[in-house]
Symmetry: C2
Subunit: 367 residues, 2 copies
């Protein structure tokens, strides 16, 4: 892996970079569509490429449970299994074990939990989680971490942080046995600035090629999130890519870009798409609503995606109203295209030295 910052914005901490991985080169800041179960919901790999996706996300916990590692190994790895040949970042699934599975016990050794699918009992160590991701053939792996919810006491956050550091250390040792793909570190510490600083210092001490910021967007107020994010990003090595996990809405992403974050993922474009809400250059459009039944305009007049070039809001509204799958497909497609196009425009604005104006103009139009 190689990462080069190519442009630094003068008015904000935003930056452009080029992240080179074995399976492809990624221009940052980048949005990564989420393909939890080895598919970005409702879209084909061909459509993801048409939308300009350079890297997608998948989830070790989900794939470990279903279809299971043996099946993916037999297919020749995750990329061949799902027919996506550009980079994949896999989340460890630690967050899902804490939020989705029935968690039985957290020990320093690992996590004892029951599957959310069938209740089956599993025990995963940080080493196991690295091995799962190596078996998947992931390009960027995430170590198991302890995610705390919001709000949480300083002491609890500190215990989780210490375990996260311990697990990061063990994960790296496990990864070093094979040295395939790359392994990032994940900064925790909840909303405590001191803990965030300690977490990232400990991770930098271990040494990772990239750093993720976890444990945000878990219910904390937006101003507190930005405060913590601001305090964290500034201390991360400027020469490494910075990844804000699970964020977010377009404006949240642009705010984080302005603080110096390089990588993002979120289920929002496909989840909103399935429910009939489109992101547009003028804010959200809930096209499933009756008010659009006679609207002959596209979802977004400024968008040149397949959906906006070919279909009206009136038709999309009909598809949702009639329960037709094509409706959620087209709006999901548009949303993914919109997020990726937004990042492309953000990169251009950084290069052109007008990112601050770009971000403010976007926010003004989307109110």
């Amino acid at each position: 892996m190689d990462f080069k910052v190519t442009h630094n914005d003068t008015q904000t901490a935003a930056r452009c970079g080029v992240l080179t991985l074995e399976r492809g080169t990624i221009e940052t800041p980048i949005f990564m569509p989420v393909g939890t179960q080895a598919t970005v919901k409702s879209l084909s790999p061909k459509e993801l490429e048409d939308c300009g996706a350079q890297i997608i996300l998948s989830n070790a916990y989900h794939l470990y449970l279903r279809p299971g590692l043996d099946i993916i190994r037999e297919a020749g790895g995750l990329h061949k299994f799902m027919n996506w040949h550009k980079p994949v970042l896999t989340d460890s699934g630690g967050y899902q074990i804490f939020s989705l599975a029935i968690l039985r016990k957290i020990k320093d050794e690992g996590l004892d939990f029951q599957s959310h699918l069938d209740g089956s009992r599993h025990f995963l160590t940080p080493e196991d989680v690295v091995r799962v991701q190596l078996a998947l053939g992931s390009d960027i792996m995430m170590p198991l971490d302890e995610c705390v919810s919001y709000p949480v006491s300083f002491d609890e956050a500190q215990v989780a942080l210490e375990r996260t550091t311990l697990w990061a250390h063990r994960s790296k040792k496990e990864w070093e046995k094979e040295k395939k793909g790359v392994l990032f570190g994940i900064v925790q510490g909840s909303t405590y600035k001191d803990l965030r600083k300690r977490s990232l210092e400990e991770l930098v001490e271990i040494g990772f090629p990239g750093y993720a910021i976890g444990g945000l967007s878990v219910g904390e107020p937006a101003d507190l999130r930005y405060n913590i994010l601001h305090g964290t990003v500034g201390y991360l090595p400027s020469t490494s890519p910075r990844y804000l996990m699970g964020v977010g809405l377009p404006q949240d992403i642009l705010e984080a870009v302005s603080l110096g974050v390089d990588m993002f993922d979120c289920v929002v474009p496909t989840r909103y798409g399935r429910n009939g809400t489109a992101f547009t250059s003028r804010g959200k459009v809930t096209v499933r609503n009756g008010e659009f039944s006679r609207d002959q305009s596209p979802l977004d007049a400024d968008c040149s995606c397949y959906c906006c070039r070919n279909f009206t809001r009136s038709y999309l509204r009909h598809l949702f109203n009639a329960g037709e799958i094509l409706g959620l497909r087209l709006v999901s497609y548009h949303n993914i295209y919109f997020f990726l196009d937004l990042m492309k425009k953000a990169r251009q604005a950084i290069k052109d030295g007008c990112f601050k104006e770009f971000k403010e103009s976007f926010a003004a139009r989307c109110v």
Copy 2:
């Protein structure tokens, strides 16, 4: 409209033809994918073109109820509404009024029924149904007919036949006011050969550019269906296209082609696709089943569709197992491609003088 028979098979009554309509030229025998609600379920118009679709079907009853004619008129007609610019054949929806709606009263004047969607009360005359299809901008329209179920008494079948002839007459008169697109006639008469013959003679007397055979595939035994079909097709003018409504499975289609039928439609490829069953050159494959979880082969090794070129049965099985929309999309796509490709191969076999062998070889492989 122009129809020319270009090849007649010597061993069977199969034939190839070219049907020229304002919006496109169709090679027969042809399969028409069904887009009841102005969308072929789960597929985009672009994908239909990629599959080789030359004409699709839609349904006047469904579109009349939802989204309603005003909305489609405002869009500039059905083609613009759904962004499909090749020909569309619209079924009157008579069959749906008999099978889906709550039918209140059948009178010579028309049908008094309640919507299956919201119970709202409607009365449609044969003239109304023609006007609905003219408003949609249909390329081939079907008149309102009285569909009887199976089994039905001779007397009941005769009453329905007489009403169908009366309505065909009135439909043609209504169509002649605008003379846009073309209006076919529909032969009824249940499983009574005499009634079938009388029905088609009365329709030919009125004069239509094409003839459909309705009221089959409604529960009658297969041998009786072929018997009636054989008895009917032979009496239809050889210079007009013959359309067997709602049929069917690949082998049923090939049998009907051998009797001289030119046009087909059926929901089977998309309905089976949504449920995880693929049609292949070696019979049906229910890829959602566990037995395929480690199968690294494509749905059909002889198929060159996007699904078969890029995805394994193992992956498709995973998608169905995990409830992912991409699974039903890909299998629906494959099935539509398969049906259209089968017709292409059937046309070539007729031209090459080996249709009988083609049909028999297909049946032998698909047992």
